[in-house]
Subunit: 346 residues, 2 copies
């Protein structure tokens, strides 16, 4: 599988993107990576490094999209940006999936513009993976759509289910609606409407879920609009980081704390592994006609490596085809399909 | 100061409410508590306990509002509920503030119905206190209003500022707007509109804030609608609890971990103190004409104690009067006032 990587995307590019690409092809024998961006800068990074030369290629792109740029301007004016060229490689079939840690608004807009949506999909959505006490859950939408209708969230639930089934082998994913209070009647206008749609559908709907439920692992797929989802994601990341810092500070306060550190090293390492976003690396933008993985702007090499591995999985496990099938008219489950169509058309 | 406590409110009432009341009057010499609820049940709890009898009284209420009940039904049918009688004591001047860990929707509706709003306030809002690496921040609205207009959030910012100034002695509170991305243009329709209002006001507005900013202590007051605020609050509580459990599990995994615990006890205790919601106990419903404190349904005795102490502070530091002054026509800052009125009337 060939992954097109936006080598210029993210706060520490191209150093971490190049390093991440090398780590990824070392980890998986099925992958090769096309590093897209400034050829000179990328060659500099590759120089002196040991890596399988057949599996890492460079594709030059003369422009770089900055973090603050608007999607409209970037699409109009930067036709030779690393984001655009990387997405184009997927469009033309020269790559199977694209990964970028660059300006996520521009990545989404470019991918939507060039690759297009799966027929029937109203809005593509970001499916982020987050840790729980039991394993993980998929948060969808984690930030692609800030103002949503009920039918959008209903589609997010269907796409999240496809993702959970194909990548995480969860047969009938427990699906929760992120809300305030677990009772059926709790929520805002939007979630109350979505609640009804989910309840009437064939989805394994477990009702409204709150913070304590999601981290206890009560749902495999958690549905919300992209504004709420992104806030939930960033609050979680911010708090996990703050707690790690608080612990470190407490530990170094006195002798007793310092001595604990000797014994605690492995514990903290495991803990970090469980709560560190870079373990999950990237989140697919579901609903597009080809695999596109969005990574954190602050991505480390490990995060990029994991994003590339996820991109490979999304391609290999045919996530796009599975979603396409869910929204196709030839769907073999006519009643469910009709119900869905009602919601989808709303 | 006399605090009316809904002794029947919360998952572990009246055991923890009675215990919390005793701890509160022991802690502060200025406080006395009226325990409102089933006289027999409360007397049972008090029996055999040592406490200053002059400072703790009982006021009988024959009914209890359950957690699932709707505000409309409760207000209409339970005129002798512990919530209603407790709020009534404040209305009639027999108590200075009310505290309840009961059905928060019913507490809010009852307080709004009986006590009324400060003139000029559109919607009362919950101001919750959350920890940061530097100290704390005030999240407003933490759950009172699920569907909001821009002018509501603007008022939340003003009330949050009054609360930060009067209770936490922060002179010019740094005020942030909870959003997705720090750039001015990021957010949904609602926050973009609020952004403009805050930018034009005399509030010390630091712009959009995200998860990492709020826990780093970049803002003293963080403004959002009640749906988003409640999700942020519950996600934080849920994650902090999950992380504590993960750490405990990691620590007990092997000998090395177990040995670390001996040295780590104090560290974990301090850590818990910093992230434990019960340290903050309760959140005032700002915008009402009298002090009303909402506590967590899962409140422990310590949480109830702290909620009673906060109720006393809100009364003593004249938070209500300060907010009233901000929204009064006799405001001495005419230009600022005019700007505010524009937003307020919107």
């Amino acid at each position: 599988m060939k992954i097109a990587l936006d080598a210029m995307g993210g706060d520490h590019a191209p150093a971490v993107t190049v390093e991440g690409a090398i780590e990824a092809v070392r980890k998986s024998k099925e992958l090769s990576v096309i590093l897209v961006g400034n050829e000179k800068a990328i060659s500099e990074e590759l120089k002196g490094k040991k890596y399988p030369h057949l599996l890492i290629k460079i594709k030059h792109a003369s422009q770089v999209v900055e973090m603050g740029e608007s999607p409209v301007t970037a699409i109009r004016r930067k036709k030779d940006s690393s984001i655009r060229i990387a997405v184009d490689l997927v469009k033309s079939g020269q790559a199977d999936a694209v990964v970028s840690a660059g300006n996520s608004g521009v990545v989404m807009a470019t991918a939507l513009f060039l690759l297009g949506k799966i027929p029937g999909i109203q809005r593509p959505a970001i499916a982020a993976v987050m840790p729980t006490l039991k394993g993980l859950f998929i948060l969808v939408d984690a930030g692609a759509n800030v103002d949503c209708k009920a039918s959008h969230l209903f589609q997010f639930a269907i796409m999240g289910n496809s993702y959970a089934r194909s990548i995480f082998n969860i047969n009938s994913p427990k699906t929760g609606l992120l809300s305030i209070g677990e009772e059926d009647v709790k929520g805002n206008e939007l979630t109350k409407e979505v609640f009804k749609l989910l309840k009437e559908s064939d989805i394994n709907f477990v009702g409204n879920v709150e913070g304590k439920d999601v981290f206890a692992g009560e749902a495999d797929v958690v549905v919300c609009d992209g504004f709420v989802g992104n806030i939930a994601l960033k609050i979680s990341e911010g708090l996990a980081e703050a707690i790690a810092k608080m612990l470190k500070r407490e530990v170094s306060k006195n002798i007793r704390g310092k001595m604990s550190y000797f014994f605690l090293k492995d514990v903290l390492k495991n803990f970090k592994k469980k709560t560190d976003y870079s373990e999950y690396g990237g989140a697919p933008l579901l609903g597009l006609s080809k695999p596109c993985i969005i990574s954190h702007g602050r991505s480390t090499a490990k995060a990029i490596k994991n994003a590339i591995l996820i991109a490979g999985e999304v391609y290999k496990k045919k996530v796009i085809e599975i979603i396409r099938d869910e929204f196709s008219d030839e769907n073999s489950k006519p009643v469910i399909h009709m119900e869905r169509k009602v919601a989808v058309k709303k």
